[in-house]
Amino acid sequence: MPLTEKTPATPATAGTPAIEFKDVEKSFGPTTVLKDLNFTVAPGERVTLIGPSGSGKTTILRLVMTLEDLTDGYIFVDGEPLTFEERDGKRVEMPKKRTREMTTRIGMVFQQFNLFPNMTVLENIIEAPVHVLGKSKAEASTEAKELLERVGLSEKADAHPTRLSGGQQQRVAIARALAMSPEILLLDEVTSALDPELVGDVLGVLRDIAETTDITMLLVTHEMQFARDVSHRVMMFDGGQVLEEGPPDQIFNNPSHERTKSFLSSVL
């Protein structure tokens, strides 16, 4: 599949990063998945993580969303510690409440959508804006309807998620994440569970968000054309380390590592 040249301009990398991993280590029991991982993502930057299965891409996103405990090291969001901070040379856990305040800046869309089946589409979207951000129901509903319009589902506000197709559910999930006005959006293989004919709609919505907002995005996808079109930077992971990184053109057309080459030829 030939990849067209359409790399967006990279945002300025100076200043405080939106996301910073510092000496991050993550183990599941005896298995160490990430070790001494360091990288930053600039505000407004869109970064795609690629790499073989089991290389830790999902784990990275889940660490940012605080769905996994950090074994060692630190993660900073806008320069502020997320789950652990260094105090008097010691690594101490942040209060849960503070961590939860920090996560309001971060949204995540899952492979399996994970809409709440006990709520209508609209209720799914306004739940957090009303109960976490303290917005009025009326205000949140108005915004939710605008978001539904944006993802092409204004008809479905009162429907139940179980009545929607996978593609529609995923677009609702995107609207739900956007309703929190996140600074950072995490997308983990959001089209992998969809029938091929439904992938286009979801990617269309994401392209629209990428073009019209300055939300920082960290995404894992197998849709290489999409990754190439929307991302400023591609990071190739292997064995819990950044093997190489660079603009999509460079990584896709001219990778410097043999492993990147063989990985790309296996997915393209």
Binding site: M65, T66, L67, R100, E101, T103, T104, I106, G107, M108, F110, Q112, N114, L115, F116, P117, N118, M119, T120, E127, A128, H131, V132, D158, A159, H160, P161, T162, R163, A173, R176, A177, M180
Partner: protein
């Protein structure tokens, strides 16, 4: 037989007294059991060991000791410690604790059965732990736990019979009296069976109603929503067509062939068992 019926008729006010006692024990005992089950069941899913461990111990203790001994303890041992309890309170307390402990396990396992993705989505939206439980997890767990709770509540009804050991004149006690006054064992106990069965049936109907409501809330069917009425009309039309065809063929409608039409009947098995 007519003599028996006359005796029964004269005995009705007394029998009703017994039914009343049994119903009070069942209803209040069930409420108590459900409250205890929720408290202990939730505590057992806590990430805090200081909540989880004591809850687990209490549950195992009350599950592992017999209802009768618990009842005797409340009725005979508490007075020795200087606490006189009304027999009704003892009965309700023992039933609530014993069946509450069993039900706590149902509550716990239903909560852990809810898809992990639901927890994760709730965390990703920064919902507080209590809101996560109240708004997202519990409503889904509730639909799962109702069938097993129904079974336990019917067992609780049957368990109420032990209170006649502590001077309470419940249905079983009255049936024994009826047997003595009619001198007809067969008749008296048949009346007893029928009355217990009717009460159990009412409980089952009520739990089925709760289950229908809970599964409807999960979007399998939501009464009165606009999309649902449209869906219902569509299904009704499809049904009519199918019926037309099947009458000529006299084939039984096996249903469930429609992707969207997952009605409550085809949802999780209602009634006994559940999927725990």
């Amino acid at each position: 037989m007519t003599e028996n019926l006359t005796t029964l008729l004269n005995f009705l006010p007394q029998l009703w007294e017994g039914v009343r006692v049994t119903i009070i024990l069942t209803v209040v005992g069930s409420l108590g059991a459900v409250i205890i089950a929720l408290a202990l069941g939730l505590a057992m899913t806590s990430t805090h060991a200081w909540l989880r461990v004591p809850a687990r111990i209490i549950v195992e203790f009350f599950r592992g000791t017999s209802l009768l001994v618990q009842l005797f303890w409340l009725f005979y041992v508490f007075p020795l410690l200087g606490v006189e309890l009304d027999p009704m309170i003892c009965g309700i307390g023992a039933l609530a604790l014993n069946y509450g402990a069993y039900s706590a396990e149902v509550v716990r396992s239903s909560i852990t059965t809810v898809d992990k993705g639901q927890w994760e989505a709730a965390i990703a939206l920064s919902l507080s732990p209590s809101r996560r439980m109240i708004r997202v997890i519990f409503p889904q767990a509730w639909a799962l736990m109702i069938p097993s709770l129904a079974t336990l509540l019917i067992q609780l009804l049957k368990g109420t019979a032990v209170v006649s050991f502590i001077t309470l004149q419940d249905l079983t006690d009255k049936i024994t009296q009826l047997r003595q006054s009619t001198n007809d064992t067969y008749f008296a106990f048949t009346v007893g069976l029928i009355i217990y069965f009717v009460i159990a049936w009412l409980i089952q109907e009520f739990m089925n109603f709760l289950e229908r409501r809970a599964t409807a809330a999960l979007g399998r069917r939501r009464p009165n929503s606009r999309t649902d009425r449209r869906e219902a009309r569509r299904l009704a039309r499809a049904d009519a067509v199918r019926k037309d065809r099947s009458t000529s063929r006299a084939a039984a409608d096996d249903g469930g062939g429609d992707g969207l039409g997952t009605g409550p009947e085809s949802g999780p098995a209602s009634g006994q068992g559940g999927r725990l």
